[in-house]
Symmetry: C2
Subunit: 502 residues, 2 copies
């Protein structure tokens, strides 16, 4: 028997157990070089990757350690009697190996794999193997099977009173593209239910949940979310409380550091979550541009077909709209700055970024046309009417009020520096990826007031010494990191004499 000890090390979504190298059970437990063990206490069982500890101050030889998250998942108290068993191979192991060997899997195989992943029975290395194997060969039938398996693995939402539940999703990569916060109040003002759950940023400078949190509380539970939607037809909340696709959370945690992003995985990830969230109608915004996720019209066409095929098969009415992904949308990058842009559009202010406004209207228009009364192109006009009349703004205030005040008052970071053009010319292009990285280094989204305020967009003339954008940060260390990266390369390409593009 080994005494259970909580080890104050974070291992995220991978279960990790710690054992002293001096522990007599060690050699038998690590016996197959598999690096995995099963931890048992009473009827509880948990599969974990095994790390060996040499320092008795971290873990005495008669103890078994579990990392923070693993300890929480195991749910036993410190000091409990535990023992180790040899790892029973996950029941999906054969399917995983068949996929690695390049074979096509049936839906039962995907269900077994997704169940094991959702329950943290795979190591990070096994998850990576699954992702790469899927990336190398996957039929459309498999993408559909994976989508279904992922949708069913989560806790689904149901909206029994609403025959039509709409949603939108942007496949991302474009900083500042905060259209959801404008589309939701427009659509809700029209009366279509749009219960929007959003993520926080993982690799970007702001997710919709981060930006909405500047204006209102976003951490509401499922019951409160239902009440808000019943009353205001829409909401803009963080999806973290609702486990729509627990397997996807694990897949993403490995996909991101690897920086791989396969089409099939993306389709399964997005559509499984929308399905689990109870959506019936969905608009996908697909920005195309040289530094966006989708970089060519051919790519976009292929991806659109895949979305439509899978969406149709799982009973989602789905429209894909292609949008300009050549530069950031609006002027702000980072929660506070993006919230400023959003409110400027809703308030119909003269300085509202026109691109953010037009994109939002186009998307809202497409969604409104899911209403049979607006079919055939009347959506855009209705969206404009709701925005211009102030109805959308009133709806947004209603939603903010129902969600409650933000957890803290966020203001623009007081440290700031302008990045200037080093020669006269015209802005030819803006590297979305680089701008996002600079904003991220400045502290966004952890510091909501950090980010970038764009002072020139593509096509604008600029003279040497005039500002291209302003970096904002809340803290010195982050500020220096961001300014350092911007000094290496601003992310702007300025050409010509400022009169004509080359």
């Amino acid at each position: 028997m080994l005494r259970l000890k909580r080890i104050g090390i974070s291992t995220g979504r991978e279960n990790v157990a710690f054992l002293s190298r001096a522990c007599p059970t060690y050699r038998a437990a690590a016996f197959e070089g598999q690096g995995k063990v099963e931890v048992l206490a009473g009827s509880k069982r948990l599969v974990a990757t095994l790390d060996l500890v040499d320092d008795p101050a971290i873990l005495p030889p008669d103890c078994l350690g579990l990392s923070e998250e693993t300890f929480a998942r195991f749910g036993q108290v410190e000091g409990s009697d535990t023992r180790l068993d040899h790892p029973h191979p996950p029941k999906s192991r054969e399917g995983l190996h068949a996929k690695i060997a390049g074979r096509e899997l049936d839906e039962a195989c995907f269900r077994a794999i997704i169940d094991d992943i959702a329950h943290h029975r795979y190591s990070k290395v096994e998850v990576a193997a699954f992702l790469v194997a899927c990336g190398s060969f996957m039929t459309t039938a498999e993408t559909l099977a994976l989508t279904r398996a992922m949708a069913d693995a989560g806790e689904g939402l149901h909206w029994p009173d609403a025959p039509v539940v709409v949603d939108k999703h942007c496949i991302g990569g474009i900083p500042g593209n905060r259209t959801s916060m404008i589309v939701v109040p427009i659509v809700a003002a029209h009366g279509l239910p749009m219960p929007k759950t959003s993520s926080r940023a993982i690799t970007s400078p702001a997710g919709t949940a981060d930006t909405m949190e500047v204006l209102a509380n976003v951490e509401v539970d499922l019951n409160r979310m239902r009440e808000i939607v019943a009353e205001a037809k829409g909401c803009l909340v963080w999806g973290g409380h609702v486990k729509l696709s627990p397997a996807d959370d694990v897949l993403i945690s490995v996909e991101r550091p690897l920086n791989i992003d396969t089409r099939e995985q993306m389709v399964a990830s997005i559509l499984s979550k929308k399905k689990a969230a109870g959506s019936t109608h969905l608009v996908i915004d697909m920005p195309v541009g040289p530094s966006a996720k989708v970089r060519s019209a051919e790519d976009a066409a292929r991806l659109r077909k895949l979305f439509e095929y899978v969406g149709d098969a799982i009973g989602l009415t789905l429209r894909v709209t292609i949008s300009d992904g050549s530069q950031p949308v609006g002027r702000g990058i980072g929660p506070v700055l993006e919230a400023r842009d959003v409110m400027a559009v809703l308030e119909n202010r003269a300085d509202a970024p026109p691109d953010l406004r037009e994109r939002s209207l186009a998307l809202a228009g497409r969604i409104l046309e899911f209403d049979p009364a607006l079919r055939g192109g009347a959506g855009m006009a209705r969206a404009r009417e709701l925005l211009d009349s102030g109805a959308a703004l009133r709806q947004m205030h209603r939603i903010m009020e129902l969600q409650g005040p933000p957890p803290r008052v966020a203001t623009l970071g007081s440290l700031s520096r302008e990045v200037v053009a080093d020669h006269d010319g015209r802005v030819m292009s803006i590297d979305c990826y680089r701008l996002a990285r600079i904003a991220r280094l400045a502290g966004a989204p952890f510091d909501p007031g950090a980010g970038i305020d764009l002072l020139r967009k593509v096509g604008d003339p600029v003279q040497a010494g005039e500002p291209l954008y302003r970096i904002h940060a809340e803290r010195e260390v982050e500020f220096r990191f961001a300014c350092g990266l911007a000094a290496e390369a601003s992310g702007y390409t300025v050409n010509g004499n400022g009169k004509e593009p080359l």
Copy 2:
């Protein structure tokens, strides 16, 4: 600045750095969700996967921790000033992503990848992605390029005085197949140089180095190895002191837990090491059987072609021999028991396992035919002559003497239990994988006296209650584990009435 701290946790071949979640540098360092950082001290730089620590007793907020092996690789003293930088993507990153995307890589790409892997710049997850991507699609030209890159990444051995340097390699999976310890003294007695470096067991119950260590010291450095080979023409030493293929050590550390074993990777792994070891002529022993690594004649033929193609291209004269892989070889499984079998063969004792003797003679014969004087089939007769005359035994004693006495006297484990047949019949098959697992659980190779002594082989009649094999162990915990697994299923299939196979 952060003070360097050594963290008494073992992370093997993956560099891992630890940072307190309360450290102000944390958010900027972990900024891209990449999970990797660069650690700097003076001109030293090291790429590591980042883990966050919540417990200040493990790591205070003003410190940077490195795991045992990472600390050793970094080579700085505790308390040194260190700082973190954003990870510069490894220079092979593009190549890795191209391979993941299914493209063919050129040799320069493989060299960059192997260099990054050998220098621990890849996380385990990236290594897994590379392995699976290679497993899913790899041309023969790529296998050759990978082999060359891996061979050149290590410290090569050179034998300037010997135009012919022979070696053998068994692709494994068959317990007890300890032919090297018989082949080396035969070949060396003939006068062909055979400087054998072997591994310790990773997932098997004994490697050649583990078994040889029962008889002699195997940890000799490169200079001593040269002296021994100069004097006795052969040696049987552990290869761990010679870094023949550092990238392969990293690849294996991920491949094994994943339990994937692709053909191309196997060929590159084996041939790169032989090339780096300075071998000119090589015999590959390929056991084929239902529980061996290679399971069919078609598989064997394809793999043989690949070995021959790559071997030829890198200048290795190479012969592949197919052998029976249907059951363990000899009677013992585990270091002490296998050493017993080896010496019985060399001493021409009546109880020597005939299968181990015949396989060794066949392999030695093939190797001896690399001597122009013995070409055309005279090798086997010469091998038999050297074994029967006692010349091989004398050569073995000479090698043992030169390598020195074993570090400790290993004796057969005193805990033992017989596993018996539960009905009359004839042994139809023995599951190599299961027997290896039982021997491993009994403590082999860590306890050299642990293992399995086979009392029946395939074809032998047995009556209910008669022993099939005997488990030996040195320690109580291991003994119970092994007996438990054997009780679940013995690994033997016994059919019929003991007179005729079904």
